[in-house]
Amino acid sequence: MRVIDVSDLGRTFRSRSGLRRTEKVVEAVRGISFQVERGELFGLLGPNGAGKTTTIKMLITLLLPTSGRIEVLGHDVVAKPREVRRRVGYVFGGDRGLYERLSGLDNLRYFAELYAVPAREQRARIGELLELVGLTGRERERVEGYSRGMRQRLHIARGLLHRPEVLFLDEPSIGIDPVGARELRQTVKALIEQGTTVLLTTHYMFEADELCDRIAVLAGGRIVAEGTPEQLKQKVSLGSVVEVEVFGLPGGTDERIRALPGVRSLVVEERGPAQVLLVHAEPGSELTQPVLSALDGAQVGRVSTRQPTLEDAYVELVGGA
């Protein structure tokens, strides 16, 4: 069963500034369409400004679309916002969005009232969620003393209070430590197993690769690719990736490598004192020796060849958009 149905969705922002009140028009989302089935974990990936958060804000009824249509659980988000709000949860990453002066417990109690969780169920539900996110024993402390990871876990508990059928997670793991992020992924997996549909935006490709059933990559307000993580990896590059660590890249070397036959693209990353060359090969090309020859005279460190990751696919998809 389809729980999210987005068709030709668009959102334009207009603002006026300066003495002449010059109008500035930004097309944040440009006619995107996608569907999410019940129990699916759907990822929206894209660089900053790609339109991910704007899309989520329209899905959760916080913003009206300027064109197109959205149905969530069969309800039009424009015509029936309250019906949608009752059934969806929204969690975003970062430090804000909690009442600092209240305890974690009082935050949850307050949001339970906002979502009309029956009084007789509140205590048990809050206890269950505190257990789920590992905050049992800390719930009576003021949120202003919570670490970022604790806040994020409280956000998750808040978003689940009313047992939403669809959960929107907007960069939920931003700024939390690796252990916290791993626990968050486990929690998300458990929710999917319980039948919750999740729409996730993230900048962390391994997170999307590990969690998402399907992914849409957004760039410039448009969907540039959609499919399973495996399909996306295959869509952009069937060739391998040669990674070469170089200490002091001689001038002009990158142009020489790009000119080599079989090279699809080259990305140079600065990692401390070294530069790491990521050479994406055309299918069937073997590039290790030609690349090392092109680096003649440079001090070369670690060399490896691997299959493309989702991040490689993402960089290529977004870079080409």
């Binding site: 009824t61 709000r85 929204y90 909690l98 002066r101 009082d106 009232e113 906002l114």
Partner: protein, 261 residues
């Protein structure tokens, strides 16, 4: 039932969550020392100028001091949702807006009433202004209606915080206007005609007039018109506030005018 719980429990929780003045370091100077100083200042100024008696200033300024929590606390309990980044979460919740925002007003009315009564008690003791024990209950009722009316104006003022960031500036202005226009220290009959006409549409004007009469020994029946006018104005401002909140919320969805993430 859930709307009632949201009104009562939700209102109290959000008041605790958002009204950042709930610390002794702010409460005592703002709600006790400041109001008493204001009463003394105007009473001594009145004595020096040879106009009015102490009771006039004690009652006028004590009731006017209800405006401080009523205007500022309402503004903060709505406006600070934006600062804490919770406004978006509030707006995507299915909670009914009328109990949600009216619930926030209830503790504010109690706060305003308490500030005014403490100022009244302290002022009457310090300046030796007798208030008959028999009129205390009626006086409390009149001050409560005045605090409600002020909170209504506070709600309308707070609604603007969904459109402008610095609502505290506006709150200062509103409290200042009430001090000048509402017959707190200058009888309405001595104000220019247009100011007296504006005062009829402001909270406190009728409440202060009724409180002065009740403190002087009049019964509630004789100040009924003023009390009803004060209550009606309060209701009017509450309605204006709720309409503005609903309108700004709709506009924010259409024009993305709120920073909600």
């Amino acid at each position: 039932m859930s709307s009632f719980r949201l009104f009562l429990l939700g209102g109290l929780t959000s008041y605790r969550a958002l009204f950042s003045w709930l610390s002794p370091w702010i409460l005592i100077p703002t709600f006790i020392v400041g109001p008493i100083a204001q009463i003394l200042f105007f009473a001594y100024a009145g004595r020096a100028a040879g106009v009015g008696d102490d009771a006039f200033y004690v009652i006028g300024n004590a009731v006017q001091n209800a405006a401080i929590p009523c205007i500022f606390a309402m503004g903060i309990t709505v406006g600070d949702e934006r600062r804490q980044g919770t406004l978006g979460l509030l707006l995507v919740s299915p909670a009914r807006r009328i109990p949600l925002f009216l619930g926030r007003a209830l503790p504010v009315v109690v706060n305003g009433l308490a500030v005014a009564l403490v100022a009244l008690g302290a002022g009457s003791v310090l300046l030796d202004v007798p208030i008959h024990a028999s009129s205390l209950l009626s006086l409390t009722g009149v001050v409560a209606v005045s605090a409600f009316a002020c909170t209504g104006l506070g709600l309308a003022n707070a609604a603007l915080s969904l459109r402008v960031r610095e609502v505290a500036v506006l709150s200062n202005l509103v409290v200042g206007v009430l001090l000048v226009f509402a017959g707190v220290n200058v009888p309405l009959s001595d104000l220019p005609g247009w100011m007296a006409a504006v005062a009829q549409w402001l909270p406190l004007t009728h409440g202060i007039a009724a409180a002065r009469e009740v403190a002087a020994g009049a019964g509630l029946a004789s100040v009924r018109d003023d009390v009803l006018a004060e209550a009606a104005l309060g209701t009017l401002y509450v309605l204006v506030g709720l309409i503005l909140l609903a309108w700004f919320e709709r506009e924010s969805r259409r024009r993305a005018t709120l920073d909600v993430a």
